[in-house]
């Protein structure tokens, strides 16, 4: 299988403080990776660096995505190239309806690919289909992006956007945080429905419970800015039983 993403010796800082201290990670097309680790280990930093958040600075290393130097691409171009982040804390954008927001996003991607903007009928049909896929209430679609949404609605909206944009590599950053068990199941089902043989996911989570629904092929433990252990799905169970302390002690 082809390498979709290759992270080599990645170091990154925020406000001058080094958070990532040499990450190496390879994701092949079709794989689901889980990245687990205690709070403060650098999980969210890794996802933010991948999508080009301007607050983070890469000081060393490289990221190759689809054979391209990812670090040279603007955040919007990374998105157009199929990189998607389901945010841990999706922001509210008052006054901008989800419909208008998604139309701008979908058409920006089409423009990048040299296609004409989607016509309104076609677009609304796509909205309906994708909404059904993730059980997003039609009322929500007419509201402003994330404004006044519950935690569960925000996460469902993230997965809806993921469905609309059909990413090649999706990063789910603590998508389970703040969700009750029903919301978690709906979100996870949405993610599973969107899975194709040629798309990959990185699931970042603190707990194992999301991984009961989204089955990873490979599990990594991130600790203190480095990946300290990589194994198969059985690692999830081991973490569940033993917690993170043994990792901390070993490193």
């Amino acid at each position: 299988m082809e390498n979709l993403l290759e992270i080599k010796n990645l170091h990154a800082t925020i406000d001058g403080k080094e958070i990532l201290k040499g990450i190496n990670l390879t994701v092949k097309a079709g794989e689901v990776h889980a990245i687990m680790g205690p709070n403060g280990s650098g999980k969210s930093t890794l996802s933010n660096v991948l999508v080009g958040h301007p607050a983070y600075t890469v000081t060393e290393g490289e990221i190759i995505y689809k054979g391209k130097n990812l670090l040279e691409l603007a955040p919007e171009d990374r998105s157009h190239e199929g990189l998607f982040l389901s945010f841990q804390y999706p922001v509210e954008i008052p006054g901008v309806s989800i419909t208008n927001f998604m139309r701008a996003a979908v058409n920006a991607k089409r423009q990048y690919q040299g296609q004409e903007p989607m016509n309104a009928t076609e677009f609304l049909k796509m909205m309906r289909e994708k909404r059904a896929m993730v059980n997003l209430d039609s009322k929500l679609a007419n509201r402003s992006v994330n404004e006044g949404f519950s935690g569960g609605e925000k996460k469902r909206n993230e997965i809806f956007q993921m469905a609309m944009l059909e990413p090649t590599l999706s990063i789910l950053d603590e998508t389970d945080s703040g969700l009750d068990i029903d919301a978690l199941r709906i979100v996870a089902e949405g993610v599973n429905k969107l899975k194709r043989d040629d798309t990959s996911s990185i699931v970042i989570t603190h707990y194992q419970r999301l991984l009961d629904y989204i089955k990873p092929d490979i599990v990594h433990i991130l600790y203190n800015g480095r990946i300290v252990k990589t194994a198969g799905p059985e690692l999830v169970m081991e973490l569940e039983e033993r917690g993170y302390d043994w990792i901390k002690n070993e490193n």
Binding site: P75, E76, H80, I93, P94, N100, F101, A104, A105, K109
Partner: protein, 480 residues
């Protein structure tokens, strides 16, 4: 967060209408005195009473000082260095008719305002004013069949002197303020509208103001009279060339609304705002007021203000008739070094009068944007209601947003509500859009238009689309 790095680079925004047209224009000498006023009046072949009106206004103006209460820093203006009359129409010596230079037609076409009726925007009649003169008014005859008068102010003075004399200055007295006195002394052209009893105007009426000549001021005057049970929607647009010198635009708009009549007045103001360093641009000092004289009358002001170096403007409603209603919907955007002090006055005199104020300020660059509004409820105005909402949106940290609400309530039955918010476009919002593939400028346009939606929705369809584009263009370069 490096918010400023993203938001502060306020580069040249693209001003689409900054071209100058080569049109042979007759410009009178610079300066202001009684002879100049007599000359303007003579050129327009005005009756004696109007000349007297001008001279009286001029004499009063001389006793006044520039108002300084606004949150604006206005450089001194040399009123003797301005030419008060510029006529782009050429006279044909043989038949004495004025001719329209084809270049002039082309100019308006370029501005998206075709003056040939067959090319017109559907359902819109236009009065096109360049510099001091109304160039052409479309669909005049069709409207006349319904008894509607839509023509230039100069023509109205000749053709309908009684109507003009009865209403001119009846809403905005020449003694009202410094710029009103100046305008009353030197006003050149503008539009006149009369909607007779019971007539619903079948078209949008609009005036497009264009400044072209250099070193001139534009002092137009618009008068709209809506008789009992009538309705009209009126639109106003304006642009000017890019020049390093400032140009003065001091207009008066007067509206009379009789029993159960309704007037909607919409403005998309896009005068040249000056360059990124604050050089040049139009000084837009305007007095707009409507008198809801009739019972159950209604006046609605909608304005989208993106242009001008300095804006000083308070479209107001005098709610004199019982059950009359006033509305003010405003989006004012300032970028670079622009300054705006704008808002409204709602004067409740009649019983059960209602007013609504929705003001959305958007400040970017190093601009200063102020909302100034007065709600006055007089002693006899039982059951008056007002709802005001003043929102400010800031882009970057070098601009200013200010709110000056005044309330002057003399009747205990009044219900007055006021809400105000200030928000910023955050880097997290922009990044969220970026991650979804939406570039930063487009994201700002999306957010700004979303913020202004409530007001934009009040504009007639074609104008709303124009205004949306304008808001995005005016912020182009607002991020680096």
């Amino acid at each position: 967060m490096k918010k400023d790095n993203i938001l502060k680079k306020l580069a040249n925004k693209a001003y689409e209408f900054g071209f100058v047209s080569k049109i042979k224009t007759e410009i009178i000498e610079q300066g202001l005195n009684e002879d100049i006023i007599r000359l303007i009046s003579k050129k327009k072949n005005e009756p004696e009473w109007l000349l007297e009106f001008r001279l009286e206004s001029y004499r009063y103006w001389q006793t006044l000082e520039m108002p300084e209460w606004a949150h604006l820093s206005i450089p001194p203006i040399d009123y003797q260095a301005i030419s008060y009359y510029a006529d782009p129409l050429k006279k044909n010596k043989e038949n004495k008719n004025k001719e329209i230079d084809p270049e002039l037609m082309k100019t308006f076409e370029k501005l998206g305002i075709p003056l040939e009726e067959r090319l017109a925007l559907s359902g819109t009649a236009v009065d096109a004013v360049m510099d001091s003169v109304s160039v052409k008014t479309t669909f005049k005859e069709e409207l006349r069949e319904k008894g509607i008068i839509f023509c230039s102010m100069s023509e109205a003075v000749q053709e309908y002197p009684d109507l003009v004399r009865k209403h001119l200055g009846s809403v905005v007295n020449y003694r009202d303020n410094f710029f009103a006195a100046l305008n009353s002394a030197v006003f050149s052209d503008g539009s006149f509208v009369y909607i007779p009893k019971g007539v619903r105007c079948p078209m949008e009426l609009s005036t497009y103001f264009r400044i072209n000549a250099a070193n001139t001021g534009q002092f137009e005057r618009t008068l709209i009279v809506a008789d009992d049970d009538s309705y009209v929607s009126y639109l106003e647009g304006c642009t000017a060339p890019m020049r390093d010198e400032n140009q003065l635009h001091a207009a008066i708009v007067e509206i009379v609304v009789n029993d159960n009549a309704e007037v909607k007045y919409s403005t998309v103001q896009n005068w040249y705002p000056g360059d990124a360093e604050g050089k040049g641009g139009v000084y837009n000092f305007v007095t707009k007021r409507g008198d809801c004289r009739g019972r159950g009358s209604k006046l609605s002001w909608t304005q989208v203000e993106t242009g001008s170096a300095i804006t000083w403007k308070y479209p107001s409603c005098i709610l004199r008739g019982d059950n009359s209603q006033g509305e003010f919907y405003s989006v004012a955007l300032t970028n670079n070094y622009q300054q705006a002090d704008t808002g409204t006055k709602m004067i409740h005199l009649g019983k059960n009068t209602r007013s609504t104020i929705i003001s959305k300020g958007i400040s970017a660059g190093k601009s200063q944007n102020s909302y100034r509004g007065l709600v006055r409820v007089s002693k006899n105005a039982d059951g008056a209601r007002n709802y005001s909402q003043c929102d400010s949106l800031l882009l970057g940290s070098e601009c200013g947003a200010h709110t000056f609400p005044y309330m002057d309530i003399h009747n205990n039955s009044a219900v007055i509500e006021h809400e105000a918010t200030t928000s910023k476009i955050s880097e997290e919002q922009l990044f969220y859009c970026n991650q979804r593939g939406i570039g930063t400028e487009e994201a700002i346009g999306l957010i700004v238009n979303g913020y202004a939606k409530e007001v934009l929705n009040k504009l007639p369809m074609e104008f709303a689309i124009e205004a949306q584009k304008l808001l995005s263009v005016s912020l182009e370069g607002a991020v680096g």
